[in-house]
């Protein structure tokens, strides 16, 4: 299995080659991959259904607890089948939809990689493997959403989707690591079987919040839902895939996966129910704003995702059953409807439903498919969607917390959904013909197979769930979600109950709404100014705010004034040293003074030289003082037993003065550029540093705890190193490596100097890479 | 005896150095200051080095002391010449008590030509310049 998933990535990488070799047939060829996987998963189904979860262990990074193990149980089987099954349909469909597109290979690459990632996500047993695949879906979906990358909207949408999901991903990572740390295991299988109750753990709340943030962003829950409709910038096959069975369901999958271990607490139930219900209503409400068929569908997806979350929050037996059923039903009809939307777009050249009409005559097959799928969406018997909706309403009615809200929201959502379903299924195909940018024809077969199969699935499973094994599959999935066996069976008829009544009423109201849709839209248009302040505006504001803040911060810190840089560094140093030597500890001073007159003089000229160099208004006067200081230092070295040092200092000082003189020739005189206030500030920093250095030197000198290693050097210089000048022996023998480095330093400096002086622009013509200034400063918009 | 000579040489030598310093400080213009520094200091070093040669009385040390004397005798006048010349040509102010300047009229500051001045003896009288300090 792992091999198969990894093969998916290899296949993705090979897709450019396949496209080159097989041209347009590559789509079909690649579709074999999910098809075979689906077949394999089906073959595994009996095993899972009868013998329980299967763990396929594979190690990867054991020292970090990262394994590539896969866990096959009802839930992952259900998701796996959806991913592969719908994936097959989408690939076939895409072959027709994008026929002749120049970027077909890239599309295949991203789509197959996405498919493999998604499959890895739902099959992963390791917490981190799950996360890795999770992030891979974000990245690959980024590529898919931005497929029309030359269009700025596509780029923006792709980026938005990426940021929202990756931001959530980071929270998820934090949550998963906390989960791993708290449970002591990185394997879902182990965690789910462990006796320990994580709900009591101290880290439960932060962990849960992190995990929920991850799930909610991915699954477009309110208030993170805005990225999903924008992701409609992707080509339709992608939308069909991402929104029906995959991407957005990843968060739902995660919640379902964790429900047995983390669910059921007050926190869980409240958050999931409220967020789910809100999302559901928001999605449904926003859907009817739009005339763009893809947006309509996208918001209805948001609604469905909210519903699923709400069901997980409710957590009852009904809710679990409803969850798996609704999940399956939604995947099937939403996949089909998106593909229909794609066909319409493809054939008519517009996505606006109000611009279409009466297409049933020219594209009857599409119309039929659309009708079946929309009926499922609307929850009309005998379709699977009906069962899902019944169970959903039932679950809402049985909720333990915030029941009234849930019921009201669910009912309203149902009404709106029916309106949406009607709009999609009826508006383009019935009524009068409209002129469209392209003359519509029935779609080619390759584009009809996918939606057709899915619509058929909706119908068949609705009619006979048990017969097709869906019953068993869903039971098994629900069991995995609930964490305990749920002996339920699906049926079209549960008797006349509250749910059925609500269903019927909603059907009527929904159809009524559909009839009045155009005027309702007009009314809603008045809300537009208010709608501007939604979460999306918050996201945009946040991003712009970050950019503005960072520009401000960069101007503040990286301001180009070097003295500020130096000042900051010194203040840090002073603060740290001062804190250590004055506040936390105290300096050690031994003020015994043993000096000779001429020594004081020499030290004095040295000090005066330095001082005069700073205050001199003549730069050459400063250079001469520096020279005096250097000679004084040389003399100090000599007076204190370092002849080699004295000579070197003297020679170096002479050469330095010569270099300074040669260079100063080209430079202007000193000028006073700073204000007195600046001078006082700099002076105090400098003085503080000076005092600290004084204290440190005194302390280090006073400490007399250890014998120096140089005793050995003195003793062995003549006998072992055959040299009587111990300093020279150190330089060329004991510590020759230092000297080796040192001569290279000098050589490097010389090379640098020679190059700097002699290599001029004339000799490096044609290179402009660094000459540019950052003149472009407009805010970034891509 | 030898100690006395050494001591005297040291003291005199050191004193000449001080003299040079005093002269450097007191004398009124660059060129007169250079008179003080070059010779007095050289003499001071010579005396001190002779003392050290006597003190150590070894070939190596004597040779080194003599080397120092020779080097000082070579380098001091060259340095003096170079600085004095540069200082003069870039217009160091001469002391107001300066009585004569036979160079100035023979020097062309544009071409840097320096004539021998054999033919212009009569111009040798120094023309006071308004840049000179009082």
């Amino acid at each position: 299995m792992q091999f198969a998933v990894l093969m998916g990535f290899v296949l993705a990488a090979l897709s450019p080659l396949l496209n080159r070799w097989f041209g347009e047939r590559a789509s079909l060829l690649l579709a074999l991959f999910p098809a075979l996987l689906a077949a394999w998963l089906l073959s595994q189904a009996p095993l899972v259904l009868h013998e329980g979860p299967q763990l396929l262990a594979w190690s990867w990074v054991p020292s970090l607890g990262i394994s590539l193990s896969f866990l096959l149980d009802g839930l992952s089987l259900l998701f796996g089948l959806l991913i592969t099954g719908i994936g097959t349909c989408v690939l076939v469909y895409a072959g027709g939809y994008l026929k002749g597109h120049q970027d077909m290979a890239r599309f295949h690459l991203a789509l197959v990689a996405f498919m493999a990632s998604m499959l890895g996500l739902v099959l992963a047993d390791g917490l981190l493997t799950l996360f890795i695949f999770w992030e891979l879906t974000s990245i690959t979906s980024y590529l898919l959403i931005g497929f029309n990358h030359q269009d700025i909207e596509a780029r923006k949408s792709a980026r938005q989707g990426l940021f929202v999901t990756v931001a959530g991903g980071l929270a998820l990572m934090a949550g998963l690591v906390l989960l791993g740390v708290a449970s002591g295991s990185w394997s879902l299988h182990d965690i789910l079987r462990a006796d320990e109750d994580l709900r009591q753990h101290a880290l439960y709340t932060p962990m849960l919040i992190c995990l929920l943030l991850g799930a909610f962003t991915k699954s477009a829950q309110f208030p993170f839902h805005f990225w999903l409709p924008n992701a409609m910038a992707a080509p339709t096959p992608v939308s069909a895939y991402l929104h029906s069975a995959t991407m957005v369901k990843a968060g739902i999958y995660l919640l379902a996966r964790l429900q047995p271990e983390l669910g059921g607490t007050a926190l869980w139930v409240t958050i999931l129910s409220v967020v789910g219900a809100t999302t559901m209503l928001t999605g449904a409400f926003l859907a009817i704003h739009h005339t763009n068929i893809k947006k309509l569908l996208a918001y209805s997806t948001v609604m469905a995702l909210g519903t699923l979350t709400m069901l997980l929050g409710i957590g009852s037996e009904y809710a679990m059953t409803a969850f798996v059923t609704f999940l399956l039903a939604h995947s099937l009809y939403k996949g089909a409807l998106f593909m229909v939307a794609g066909i319409l777009d493809h054939e008519t050249g517009t996505k606006d439903v109000t611009a279409m009409g009466g297409l049933r005559s020219v594209m009857p097959v599409t119309a039929t498919i659309a009708l079946i799928a929309a009926l499922s969406l609307a929850g009309v018997p005998p379709l699977l969607g009906f069962i899902g909706k019944e169970l959903m309403l039932e679950a809402a009615l049985g909720a333990e917390r915030v029941r009234s809200i849930l019921v009201v929201f669910a009912f309203m959502a149902a009404v709106l959904t029916i309106a949406v379903a009607s709009i999609i299924a009826l508006r383009p195909f019935y009524g009068a013909r409209h002129e469209t940018p392209k003359t519509p024809h029935e779609a080619p077969l390759s584009m009809l197979i996918g939606p057709g199969l899915l619509a058929l699935g909706s119908l068949a499973l609705g009619l006979a769930p048990a017969m097709l094994g869906a019953d068993a599959l869903l039971t098994s999935a629900a069991t995995a979600v609930a964490g305990e066996a749920l002996p339920i069976s699906l049926s079209l008829w549960y008797g006349v109950n509250m749910a059925l009544i609500m269903s019927v009423v909603s059907l009527l109201l929904g159809f009524f709404l559909f009839k009045r849709w155009d005027s309702v839209r007009g009314q809603l248009a008045r809300l537009t100014p208010v709608m501007r302040y939604g979460p999306e505006a918050g996201y945009e504001g946040l991003m712009n705010g970050i950019v503005r803040f960072s520009e401000w911060q960069t101007r503040l810190l990286q301001n180009g004034y070097m003295r500020n840089y130096i000042l900051v560094m010194l203040v840090v140093l002073i603060a740290l040293i001062g804190n250590s030597i004055l506040l936390r500890h105290s300096p050690q001073l031994a003020l015994e003074l043993d000096v000779r007159f001429h020594e004081v003089i020499v030290v004095g000229t040295m000090a005066m030289g330095a001082l005069f160099a700073t205050i001199s208004r003549s730069r050459l006067g400063a250079v001469v003082s520096v020279g005096i200081m250097g000679f004084s230092i040389a003399l100090i070295f000599i007076l204190f037993s370092a002849p080699d040092l004295g000579i070197t200092q003297l020679l170096v000082e002479t050469m330095t003065v010569i270099l300074l003189v040669l260079v100063l020739f080209r430079l202007p005189r000193f000028s006073n550029l700073s204000t007195n206030l600046e001078r006082i500030r700099d002076g105090s920093v400098a003085a503080t540093m000076g005092v600290l250095m004084f204290l440190l030197i005194m302390t280090a000198w006073s400490i007399d705890q250890f014998e120096s290693i140089s005793t050995y050097m003195v003793e062995n210089s003549a006998p072992l190193a055959h040299g009587r000048n111990i300093v020279n022996v150190i330089l060329v023998d004991y510590r020759a490596l230092d000297t080796l480095g040192e001569m290279f330093v000098l050589a490097l400096a010389a090379i640098g100097v020679i190059a700097m002086l002699k290599l001029r622009h004339g000799e490096t013509e044609g290179r402009t890479n660094s000459g540019e200034k950052a003149s472009v400063k407009e805010p970034y918009d891509g | 005896m030898i100690d006395a000579i050494k001591g005297a040489m040291l003291l005199v030598g050191a004193s000449f150095m001080l003299l040079a310093a005093v002269g450097l400080l007191r004398l009124p213009d660059l060129l007169t200051r250079m008179h003080a520094t070059t010779k007095a200091a050289a003499l001071g070093v010579i005396l001190i080095m002779l003392a050290s040669a006597m003190h150590f009385a070894e070939v190596g040390v004597v040779a080194r002391s003599l080397a120092i004397i020779v080097f000082i005798l070579i380098t001091a006048p060259i340095a003096a010449h170079v600085i004095g010349r540069a200082g003069y040509f870039v217009g160091s102010r001469l002391w107001s008590g300066t009585v004569k300047d036979e160079l100035r009229p023979n020097y062309d500051p544009l071409t840097h030509e320096l004539k021998s001045g054999m033919e212009t003896q009569e111009n040798a009288k120094r023309h006071p310049r308004n840049t000179d300090p009082d």
Partner: protein, 157 residues
């Protein structure tokens, strides 16, 4: 030059032979060497003039030291006593020296003598410009300088 080298070699040979490696012994060896060279001078062409140059050199050294000390004292006196007695000025001294080596030697000697400082040589090398501290008796100064130049040039000619 050959003579000086020979003299040094003979001195060193003396030191080696006598086995006393002190400075004083080297001096002794040099003196004996000089006497030896004095004796064989007529036979060896390369030695022509060397023995005669030595006393001249010693004489010059004495002259120079005398000048040095004398003039130094005069400068010292003027520095240490407040009113200035000096009458500084720049004079042109016609040169007898011709080669670069000679000019340099003369100029440096003049620079080393207190009270005089060589400023520059004219482009035609005929005149040395000298800054002098005491121009109260210019003729005397010129005479002294010429004598020094003469004595110095003698050493090389």
């Amino acid at each position: 030059m050959t003579g000086a080298i020979w003299n040094l070699l003979l001195g060193l040979a003396w030191v080696l032979l006598s086995g006393d490696f002190s400075g004083l012994n080297l001096l002794v060896g040099m003196i004996f060497g000089y006497i030896a060279l004095l004796l064989i001078e007529p036979q060896v062409d390369g030695l022509k003039g060397y023995p005669a140059r030595v006393p001249r050199f010693i004489g010059f050294l004495g002259f120079f030291i005398k000048e040095l000390v004398q003039a130094n004292l005069r400068v010292a006196f003027d520095i240490l006593t407040p009113p200035w007695h000096m009458q500084p000025g720049v004079i042109a001294l016609p040169l007898s020296a011709r080669t670069e080596m000679e000019i340099t030697l003369v100029a440096n000697l003049i620079s080393l003598t207190p009270g005089t400082l060589s400023l520059d040589v004219s482009d035609d090398r005929k005149v040395l410009y000298i800054h002098a501290m005491f121009l109260d008796d210019e003729e005397e100064l010129r005479r002294n300088l010429k004598e020094m130049e003469h004595r110095a040039l003698e050493l090389f000619r």
